[in-house]
């Protein structure tokens, strides 16, 4: 498949972006000041992320649609309020995860944000399941901009009036230069922030306006260090088709009613995980020294038995040290458990650590 570009490609180039291939797109991995600097700007001020590669799906329908979607997404769609967003996933028959996603209830039905690498497959799965009973669109003409950091609200309010009243994980329609945009207060950095869905035609205008307000562009490199400090999963690494949401420590995302009633794809596995058959768990891992343990690094118990492996690991600029997460056998998942990590043939001490590594700062 031909590599795709977002509507902001040329603008990124003019801002000094270095590009990498990501999920079939040519995406900025960093700009001239570097990943650590971009990370800190997002933590201390405000950063702009082009996440237009992500899938923006809309499905039109009412109560009958909610009933159908509940069969493939373990979310409480009876309780979701208009303009409320919820983190969830598309589960498979084995209780694994096809994708993690954000569902927002809107007037016409539901908006769903999907991972770039999964969006086409997700569309097929959902579309096949709904069997043409509902109108479903994977938007090609929409861009998605994330504005993240403590100054996001103050800055965006100057451009799009009214956004500062949004609560975390809530959205609404707003007007930008007379055009409709849909904005949610959400993100993937552990900071306060917004995600703005806007047509490809006007996205560069908005991006330029943000940059003129002293917002800095941020690439995928810092997006990864920010999300890992915030303890958030990266699909394809920390979660995949063979990890259950319970193993992934995402039980919180499945409401009580759904945990008890089930009625969704893969419930058998999830139910048995909930009822004592859970054998491994995703945990935070903090190396004691400076060593960085990356994806695939084996985790050992104090007495030298292999107990799991790292799924994401990097240097956390705000933590100012290495951070990681991975799966360990359940007996070793307690906070503070001493483990060792085998990096380049040598074992290094580490501990099971609380997530997030960096404290959240959301407006609730």
């Amino acid at each position: 498949m031909e590599t795709q570009r977002t509507a902001l490609y040329e603008y990124h180039k003019s801002l000094g972006a270095k590009f990498v291939p990501f999920a079939g797109y040519e995406m900025p991995v960093q700009y001239s000041s570097g990943i650590v600097d971009e990370h800190k700007i997002t933590r201390n001020s405000a950063g702009m992320f082009d996440v237009s590669h992500m899938g923006q799906l809309s499905i039109e329908g009412n109560a009958d649609l909610a009933v159908e979607l509940e069969k493939i997404i373990p979310i409480d769609l009876k309780k979701i309020k208009l303009n409320q967003s919820k983190y969830s996933f598309l589960t498979n028959k084995k209780g694994g995860i096809y994708d993690d996603l954000i569902v927002t209830k809107v007037e016409k039905g539901f908006n769903v944000i999907l991972n770039a690498a999964c969006k086409d497959n997700d569309f097929k799965i959902i579309n096949n399941f709904l069997n043409n009973k509902f109108k479903i669109i994977l938007h090609k003409n929409l861009s998605l901009i994330a504005l993240q950091g403590p100054k996001s609200s103050e800055i965006l309010e100057k451009i799009i009036s009214g956004i500062s009243s949004l609560k975390f994980m809530n959205g609404n329609k707003f007007s930008y230069n007379g055009k409709d945009v849909y904005i949610t207060r959400s993100g993937y950095t552990g900071e306060d922030g917004f995600e703005i869905s806007i047509s490809n035609e006007f996205v560069e205008n908005l991006a330029k306006e943000l940059i003129s307000q002293d917002v800095k562009p941020i690439g995928l490199g810092a997006r990864d260090t920010l999300r890992l400090e915030a303890g958030l999963c990266l699909y394809g690494h920390d979660i995949n088709e063979s990890t259950s949401p319970i193993e992934a420590n995402l039980k919180w995302a499945i409401s009580n009613r759904r945990r008890e009633e089930g009625g969704f794809v893969g419930y058998n596995k999830i139910k048995s995980d909930l009822n004592g058959s859970l054998s491994r768990l995703r945990v935070g891992i903090k190396p004691e020294g400076k060593i960085i343990a990356r994806e695939g690094v084996k985790i050992f118990s104090e007495d030298g038995k292999e107990i799991g492996s790292i799924t994401s690991g990097t240097f956390g600029p705000s933590v100012n040290g290495p951070i990681a997460m991975g799966y360990v056998k359940l007996d070793f998942s307690k906070l503070g458990t001493k483990v060792s990590l085998e990096v380049r043939g040598k074992k290094h001490e580490a501990k099971v650590s609380k997530l997030p590594f960096y404290k959240k700062n959301y407006v609730r």
Partner: protein, 126 residues
């Protein structure tokens, strides 16, 4: 000090007497991005030309550092282990990696001049 020489693995070398000082090039440091971890060889260790002699990691990935010269490690730059960002600040100066007692001076002839390296780096950015 002798003229600085460069390797195809993006290391630089300067010679004083029979000791070579080795580090990664400015180009390599730029390609890596922010250096956040450095692992250096142990003093006294014997290393072979083009063998692995250290590790440098950015937020993105880990890369091996090779030695362009055969010999024995006589000194390492602890300051870049303590402050890996120093590699980006001055890669071809205070951000040096290790010193080697040279075993075979003829190996130096196989290294590139700055002009040749710059051309090489342009054609082989990674």
């Amino acid at each position: 000090m002798s003229e600085k020489k460069y390797s195809k693995q993006h290391e630089w070398v300067t010679i004083e007497g029979d000791v070579a000082t080795i580090g990664i090039t400015t180009h390599a440091a730029e390609m890596l991005g922010d250096v956040v971890f450095v692992e250096l060889p142990e003093k006294g260790k014997s290393v072979e030309k083009e063998g692995q002699a250290g590790v440098v990691e950015s937020t993105k990935a880990a890369s091996d550092v090779y030695t362009p010269i055969t010999g024995e490690i006589t000194d390492t730059n602890q300051s870049i282990v303590d402050d890996p960002g120093a590699v980006n600040k001055d890669p071809e100066g205070s951000g040096w990696f290790f010193k080697i007692k040279i075993k075979n001076k003829s190996e130096l002839d196989q290294l590139m001049s700055k002009t040749d390296y710059d051309k090489f780096a342009k054609e082989n950015p990674n």
